[in-house]
């Protein structure tokens, strides 16, 4: 039975901001995911650095974009993680119909907060400037900007100033579940009546230092350096690790009462969300999920949404292109209690953009919300050779975009190191 909630307790999405490897605006990103356009490229600096995986997803056109959005004074103290977070947040804010506040203005948005997560934060600043300068005995020459750039909360801090945020402002981290977890927390803050609006999502810079530790673990793809667009292969028999990527995805969440009051365009509604941890037991570990934890997380989100599993039209999975993909789909299947042929359409945004780590949940939720709003499910590329354990799902995994005019309900999940899970139920807005 569906919950009946007052408008002040219903949470809707009224703004979207995205910086992705295959599109750096809401419109170019939508066009790219519809057309199956990959944002994965070969990067010479990774080859020069001795990386096994020499491909990655780095947002393009940022040099031009950043000077359009940010002053020289602001950029002086911003690394790539902060720049992506700032542009995506400004876009989400203005997409929702708000004006960007003047830096000289006195108004503070006391009812608006921001939870912008990150997986690794400002490690480019730490690796390029802070550590070499300190080790060279040049502490007095480091300058004033490294604290804000090396701080974990640097991405949310910069957003707070740019948008005059007056409610809770925090950077959260739950590894690769970060973005989804941040949106769940933002949703709860509004449901708790503690804020009317929350910017929520995640950002990740494109530091080689972040990618080096992953490369050393041999969890990234080293088989497609000569064919970058084929490298990210979730659900494929030839999946050989994920492709590291960067960017930001930020949603403006708002109470339905607030959205109605100002006549805002409503993209979709969050009707359920849950985060948990599998305790690193029963097959779970630092780097692998406890299937019981995953299933409990999905079931709890569905229960909160008050929907039946068969009502779910599509799953935007975590699906990174590691050995875990078939396990993830097995968990979805058990959690939903449906036979493979009756499962929702299953898709992976990472097939197009790689794994944007702490930004993944944010960017992929932007994709899911656009799909609900426009009535389509984007295709997952590079899995023509479907993993043999997924053969029974072949009819439920579109390789090309399908129009689904009556698309109503998407389940989005993200999972991360530490055996952490997050699942959201997103519904097309209905009065």
């Amino acid at each position: 039975m569906a919950h009946v909630l007052a408008d002040s307790l219903r949470v809707v999405i009224t703004g979207l901001g995205v910086i992705a490897p295959n599109g750096n605006t809401k419109d170019t990103f939508e066009d790219a995911i519809r057309k199956g356009k990959s944002g994965i490229r070969f990067h010479q600096h990774l080859r020069d650095g001795g990386f096994g995986c020499q491909v990655g997803g780095i947002p393009e056109g940022i040099e031009e974009l950043r000077t359009r959005y940010l002053s020289e004074e602001a950029l002086y103290a911003m690394n790539s993680n902060m720049i992506y977070a700032a542009i995506a947040s400004i876009d989400a804010w203005t997409d929702a119909g708000f004006e960007r506040p003047s830096p000289d203005g006195e108004e503070v948005h006391w009812d608006t907060g921001a939870i912008i997560g990150t997986g690794i934060g400002g490690i480019d600043t730490i690796g390029d400037k802070l550590v070499p300068g300190t080790n060279a005995g040049r502490v007095s020459r480091l300058g004033s900007t490294l604290t804000e750039q090396a701080s974990i909360s640097g991405n949310s801090a910069v957003v707070g100033g740019l948008l005059a945020i007056g409610n809770r402002l925090v950077t959260s981290a739950a590894a690769c579940a970060t973005g989804t977890d941040a949106i769940i927390e933002g949703y709860y803050r509004i449901r708790d009546g503690r804020a009317r609006r929350m910017l929520a999502g995640g950002s990740e810079g494109h530091s080689k230092y972040a990618w080096a530790s992953l490369d050393a673990m041999k969890v990234t793809c080293r088989t497609h350096n000569d064919a970058p667009e084929k490298a990210s292969r979730p659900m494929s028999a030839s999946a050989a690790g994920f492709v590291p990527a960067a960017g930001a995805g930020v949603l403006l969440l708002e109470s339905l009462a607030s959205a109605r009051e100002r006549g805002a365009r409503i993209y979709a509604e969050i009707i359920g969300g849950n985060s948990n941890c599998g305790g690193q037991r029963n097959g779970g570990s630092m780097s692998a999920p406890n299937p019981d934890g995953v299933q409990r997380c999905i079931r709890a989100a569905i229960a909160e949404a008050g929907v039946r599993p068969e009502e779910i039209d599509a799953i935007n999975g975590h699906l990174t292109a590691t050995f875990a993909d078939p396990l993830e789909i097995a968990s979805w299947t058990k959690a939903l209690g449906l036979p493979p042929e009756k499962m929702p359409l299953i898709h992976s945004t990472k097939s197009l953009i790689g794994h944007t780590l702490g930004a993944a949940g944010g960017i992929e939720c932007v994709a899911a919300v656009l799909e609900l709003h426009r009535g389509f499910v984007h295709g997952s590329i590079n899995c023509e050779d479907l993993h043999p354990e997924l053969a029974a799902y072949a009819g439920r995994i579109p390789h090309e975009t399908v129009d689904v005019p009556d698309l109503r309900l998407i389940a989005k999940a993200s999972f991360g190191f530490g055996d952490v899970n997050g699942c959201l139920l997103l519904r097309k807005f209905e009065n």
Binding site: S71, E73, Y76, G143, S144, T145
Partner: protein, 84 residues
């Protein structure tokens, strides 16, 4: 190096840190770096580092702390470099 030349170089160093870019149009020796140009106080550290590098001088902390206006900075530099 004369006062005008030092002044122009100091203004060029300040420019990236200036939040009120309009105030640069009328910048003079009496212009306050923080009040008029709206330079973030934390960035004074970076400005001193830039000054030291470009003019090849060392600025003592106690001298740097006294700088309020563009003219104050120019005078500290001229005192070390000497005026032509």
């Amino acid at each position: 190096m004369d006062e005008k030349e030092v002044f122009q170089k100091v203004v060029a160093i300040l420019k990236p840190f200036v939040k009120n870019q309009e105030a640069l149009a009328t910048v003079g020796l009496d212009t306050s770096i923080q009040k008029d140009l709206k330079v973030n106080s934390a960035r004074l550290v970076d400005i001193v580092l830039e000054v030291e590098e470009r003019f090849e001088i060392q600025v003592k902390d106690e001298d740097a702390d006294k700088v309020r206006t563009v003219g104050d900075a120019v005078r500290i530099i001229l005192a070390q470099k000497g005026s032509a």
